[in-house]
């Protein structure tokens, strides 16, 4: 195994304990994926006083095997692209609360926004950009919760090594699922890919790398994950058109069926749609003046890195106009 080394330390501008007290930020950006980091870069170029609060710098890009559709790079790994994003932001003076998330949002009588973080910081800002991203969506079938961490994984890139050379099923039909299948092939695992939707959504270039190397089952439902109480031994699947149920004997079930928005803490603060995404208009405005949103947590269609990044830029420019009272 060739060793790689990845370094993502909070920079010297990471907020020290209590440093946020008595400070009023122009803009608080919540989330450090492509949308949040691009928003930060644009806002910093406008010389706004910015704090960025995020569990990590990179977001879902950190979990992406390879990126072939971000302009300027014919191929780049997800972590490397995330590192480049973060390096570009860190050339400016940015206050970071890395390793933290926001647990509570409110607005005071003066119109200032108050954000409480997971380490009980109390951050005050004149405007906010929500860029909280999404996380893996569970299947919600019997056995999934019981065997989570015992054969069921919602992070293929994290847990794949535990299933080296063991039979696995990848559930999903998009780029993440196909990338996970390619990773597992590299680890010598027999792979079955079960698409729970009708028709593969992954890019053709990825699908072409898989064909004839794995079993592809389109348009199936996963009805149950079972095991011996200690670990997974199989999954039951049924064709969506009503055919007979069958069992796949596998040791790993890697679920890549899409994403859920990280918007639980936002309920009641800004309007969400039925999918629990933050509703935005074409100026990235949410239902609450002074609060903008960008990227995968929003109602903007198509969850792509390049779209999230562009959306982040738009939200930062909109926040700047709001702060400077510039008409749209």
């Amino acid at each position: 195994m060739g060793l790689e080394f990845k370094l993502d330390l909070p920079s010297g501008t990471n907020l020290k304990a209590g440093e946020e007290k008595e400070q009023l930020f122009d803009l608080a950006i919540v989330g450090g994926g492509p949308a949040g980091l691009t928003a930060a870069m644009y806002a910093l170029r406008k010389q706004l006083y910015v704090v960025l609060i995020s569990p990590d710098l990179g977001g879902q890009v950190l979990l992406t095997r390879g990126v072939e559709n971000y302009m300027g790079y014919q191929y780049i790994t997800g972590p490397e692209l995330a590192r480049k994003f973060s390096a570009q932001v860190r050339q400016f003076t940015l206050k970071l609360a890395q390793g933290e998330s926001v647990t509570r949002f409110s607005q005071d009588g003066k119109g200032l926004f108050q954000l409480v973080t997971s380490t009980d910081r109390f951050i005050t800002a004149r405007s906010v950009i929500l860029a909280t991203g999404k996380r893996s969506r569970p299947l919600n079938v019997p056995g999934e919760q019981e065997y989570l961490g015992r054969g069921v994984s919602l992070c293929a890139v994290c847990d794949g090594p535990f299933f080296k050379e063991l039979p696995v099923v990848i559930v999903g039909g998009g780029n993440s699922a196909i990338s996970a299948a390619l990773d597992m092939l590299d680890l010598g695992s027999p792979v079955t890919v079960v698409n729970v939707a009708d028709g593969w959504q992954a890019d053709s270039v990825l699908m072409d790398q898989l064909r004839d190397r794995v079993t592809l089952l389109d348009a199936h439902k996963v009805t149950e994950i079972h095991g011996d109480k200690e670990k997974v031994s199989g999954v039951k699947i049924t064709p969506r058109d009503g055919g007979a149920e069958r069992t796949l004997d596998v040791r790993g079930v890697l679920i890549e069926i899409g994403l859920l928005p990280n918007t639980e803490a936002l309920a009641g603060f800004v309007a969400l749609n039925a999918r629990q995404e933050v509703l935005t208009d074409c100026f990235s405005r949410t239902s609450r003046p002074g609060v903008f949103a960008a990227g995968d947590c929003t109602s903007v269609p198509e969850k792509q890195i390049i779209i999230a990044a562009g959306d982040g830029a738009k939200a930062a420019l909109a926040a700047h106009r709001f702060l400077k009272h510039i008409p749209d």
Partner: protein, 218 residues
Amino acid sequence: MALLDTAIQKQAQTALKENPEPVTLHVFTQAMECQYCRESHQLAEELAALAPDKVKVEVHDFVSDKAAVEKFKIDKIPALAVVGKEDYGVRFYGVPAGYEFTSLLSGIKLVSQGKADISKAALSKLGAITKPLQLKVFVTLTCPYCPAAVHLAHQLAVASPLITAEMIEASEFPHLAVKEQVMGVPKTIVGGFGAFEGALPEPAFVDKVVSLVTGGAV
């Protein structure tokens, strides 16, 4: 050939030079080096070369240097004990490469400053720990969520003289991963009290540790 490329060297050097006090990386290896023993040793030496006034390296033979093995309570190799003015019980078992390189640099910083960056509420809850407690965080090198869990465990080790915390790279210690039923990471084993998975935020991580130890609500 160097393990760290020029860009990472530069980043690491900047980070290490900001550390207030020197730390010593005690490297445990053996004459016939184990898998990744050589790399772990080399990594420690490369860090020391980047900031000689901030990082020292002492190499111990796991088989023959029984005094050091006992002193630092090392039970497998490759192992790194990160020690500053005090030994807070910050350990790395397996090579801290991939995303765990961030954990190593964070751990060195933590030991160097000799003070945990956790909330007063978390510190107060740790008062419920009244007996020695060992936290083991199983990771894989490809897991971007794992450094957060490792760092929090190390924070607790620095915060409490009763807690020690170790990163364990699961693929280098597959027998331990099987024993602890690790099939997803990060997985934190809390002494003999239980385990939990996921990179929880600080309050939830501390609550989980304390509730497992005390057997009740926090």
